[in-house]
């Protein structure tokens, strides 16, 4: 079995070059025009950034709509968009614009934020490090995950879905790659059963370690 190489990662954030949005119409225009890296940052990388986990909403657009536009209807609709449930970032952009367009059609006045509360469009470079750890057997996954950093959890379980094989986390991809006679099936099913949308990275680590603990199988 090929060992699983544990990686770690961190973000280096930068301005996207887009002007900040002060109202909902500008937010819509910028989202329509921004690079996919920007969209990914505000939907997915937000969990790793130095902003606190907002327990209400999981992406920056929903949080901004609630806190600074004061539009809770829009926040709820944006907040339920799951970036990992769509097949591409293009579809994610389309889903976001659809929600905003719908809201714009309902409103008689465009919601505005105060000066200083604009939405700033950012993007990031992910820096990947070697964690110097190798996992040689599925039965060791749980213990190894328990000791992983937030960066490793993000990289292997969330960011991985952006890399080939698209939509799969690295643990599942490794288990499938080394599948032999269905012995990795319990692990693959355990990973697939996790609803990670509302988890912070610390919670996700705990949930992964718990679900993978004590399973029978592996080679």
């Amino acid at each position: 079995m090929t060992p699983f190489e544990v990686k770690d990662c961190a973000l280096l954030t930068r301005m996207s070059g887009l002007l900040p949005a002060i109202n909902l119409r500008e937010l819509r225009e910028r989202i329509a025009a921004c690079g996919e890296n920007v969209l990914f940052h505000h939907y997915c990388e937000t969990t790793l950034r130095a902003s606190f986990d907002n327990p209400d909403y999981r992406n920056d657009f929903a949080v901004w709509s609630k806190l600074y536009l004061g539009d809770r209807v829009l926040a709820e609709r944006l907040g339920i968009i799951d970036p990992y449930a769509v097949s591409s970032l293009g579809d994610l952009r389309a889903a976001t614009l659809e929600v905003i367009d719908e809201r714009l059609s309902e409103l008689t006045m465009i919601p505005w934020a105060r000066a200083g509360d604009e939405f700033f469009f950012m993007e990031a470079t992910t820096v990947m490090f070697s964690a110097g750890i190798r996992i040689r057997h599925p039965s060791r996954l749980s213990d190894a995950i328990r000791k992983m950093t937030n960066g490793s959890i993000y990289f292997h379980f969330l960011e991985a879905r952006r890399r080939p094989p698209i939509g799969a986390d690295d643990f599942t991809a490794w288990l499938l790659e080394n599948e032999d006679g269905g012995r990795n099936r319990p692990y693959i099913e355990a990973l697939a059963s996790i609803d990670f949308h509302f988890h912070s990275l610390a919670e996700l680590r705990k949930e992964l370690a718990t679900r993978l603990s004590g399973l029978e199988g592996g080679r």
């Binding site: 961190a10 280096l12 930068r14 890296n37 606190f52 964690a131």
Partner: protein, 412 residues
């Protein structure tokens, strides 16, 4: 004196140090020059004091140079600095000429090292003109803004912008502090040093000594705001909040800061605070010297709740320091405080003295939340606002800039 990197392992973990060493291997031998305008005093010098040796420890050939100038030059650069932060200042063409000439004199002295450097970090506007003078530069030049230039005084920005556009990249502490420039603009928040006198662990005896020195009652809750006496820190609003709480709970208040003696505005604010405090023996207004780091550390550790009720704020490192001491923070809903204080998690954001009083009473009522939020805040700082993260981001942006890449991912 900065501790060696290994001294941080017990605080941040081996993984964080491993990341730094991996980055250091990729940057081994790279010649980096930091240039600022003072060797002592101020946040920039404090950062460079630890960053330069730690970069060196990782294999980067880092040096720190300081530009020299006469008082007239520093008056002009102070005006530029204030203008960038939005103050209406008058800078004549003669002043700009002096600014350029003094940069020229410094360039003559620094020429060899600047021309040969692989990366030059220019900190703040004072030495920014060096870029134009260094025509035979080989490396990348990065301008680091430590201040909020989101709403600059336009005449100052119009003069400085063409100069800054020539840089290969710039760094801001927060997106909210930046101005559009035609090169990569990295976002690197500041940090605290957990082993400095202001943040290191103190013995019970050291903490008790400060408690005794200022006559603080250990049996009653203590509210602490550490900040210079400045209207934007709203110390009078803090006293108002304290009085509202005092009607129902036997709290004590410490307002501690420095910088009032040679600053007319600060002096006036201090007088207002003293007047608001009146003869209340439970309000302690402390004017501390600039090197009272250990005293500040102890006061933060003695606090039940940390306040930072600013109405305008930069990043708000006193909030970071308070959270590192495991305390909930009640802070103004402005600037970098928003990045750190999250309602019900690490403290509360407030907009008025009434809001501050309400949240103080809330925490005194739900005492269990004080410990929980304090612990959450400390872990949040450990993850995001210690100097090791700061150093990692500098090393990463050096790598990205040298490789001239806009790639989504780089492997080290």
């Amino acid at each position: 004196m900065t501790a060696p990197l290994a001294a941080y392992e017990g605080i941040v973990g081996a993984t964080v140090l491993r990341q730094l060493h991996q980055l250091g291997e990729k940057l081994s031998g790279v010649r980096v020059v930091h240039v600022n305008s003072t060797r002592e005093g101020g946040g920039v010098a404090e950062i460079l004091e630890w960053m330069t040796p730690l970069m060196g420890e990782l294999g980067v050939k880092a040096t720190w140079e300081v530009i020299h100038g006469d008082p007239a030059f520093f008056e002009i650069t102070k005006a530029i600095h204030n203008g960038l932060q939005g103050h209406n200042v008058g800078i004549s063409s003669k002043d700009w000429k002096i600014y350029e000439d003094v940069n020229g004199t410094n360039f003559d002295r620094l020429r060899p090292i600047l021309e040969e450097a692989d990366i030059v970090f220019i900190h703040d506007p004072q030495p920014a003109h060096l870029l134009r003078l260094c025509e035979r530069r080989k490396g990348k030049w990065i301008w680091r803004a430590h201040i909020d230039i989101s709403r600059p005084f336009r005449p100052v920005w119009k003069s400085l912008k063409p100069l800054l556009e020539g840089y290969d990249a710039s760094i801001f502490s927060m997106a909210e502090f930046a101005q559009p420039l035609p090169h990569p603009q990295f976002l690197v928040p500041p940090s605290i040093d957990p082993l400095s006198d202001k943040n290191r662990d103190l013995s019970p005896a050291e903490i008790d000594a400060v408690r005794t020195e200022y006559g603080l009652d250990p049996s009653r809750p203590l509210l602490v705001q550490i900040s210079r006496f400045d209207r934007f820190k709203d110390p009078v609003g803090v006293v108002t909040a304290y009085r509202m709480v005092r009607k129902v709970a036997p709290v004590q208040l410490v307002l501690a800061g420095g910088g009032a003696t040679d600053d007319p505005e600060g002096k006036a604010v201090l007088e207002d605070v003293m007047e608001a405090a009146g003869n209340d023996p439970d309000i302690h207004v402390l004017l501390l010297p600039p090197d009272a780091h250990k005293t500040i550390n102890a006061l933060q550790r003695l606090a039940t709740i940390i306040l930072q009720k600013s109405t305008r704020e930069g990043f708000g490192l006193t909030v970071t320091e308070g959270m590192w001491k495991g305390k909930p923070v009640i802070g103004g809903d402005v600037g970098g405080i928003r990045l750190q204080v999250v309602n019900h998690h690490t403290g509360f954001l407030v907009n008025t003295p009434e809001g501050a009083a309400h949240r103080i009473r809330y925490l005194l009522h739900y005492r269990q939340d004080i410990e929980r939020m304090g612990e959450t805040g400390r872990e949040f700082v450990r993850e995001h606002f210690l100097l090791t993260r700061h150093l990692r981001e500098y090393l990463t942006l050096m790598l990205v800039t040298l490789r001239d890449t806009k790639a989504n991912m780089i492997e080290v």
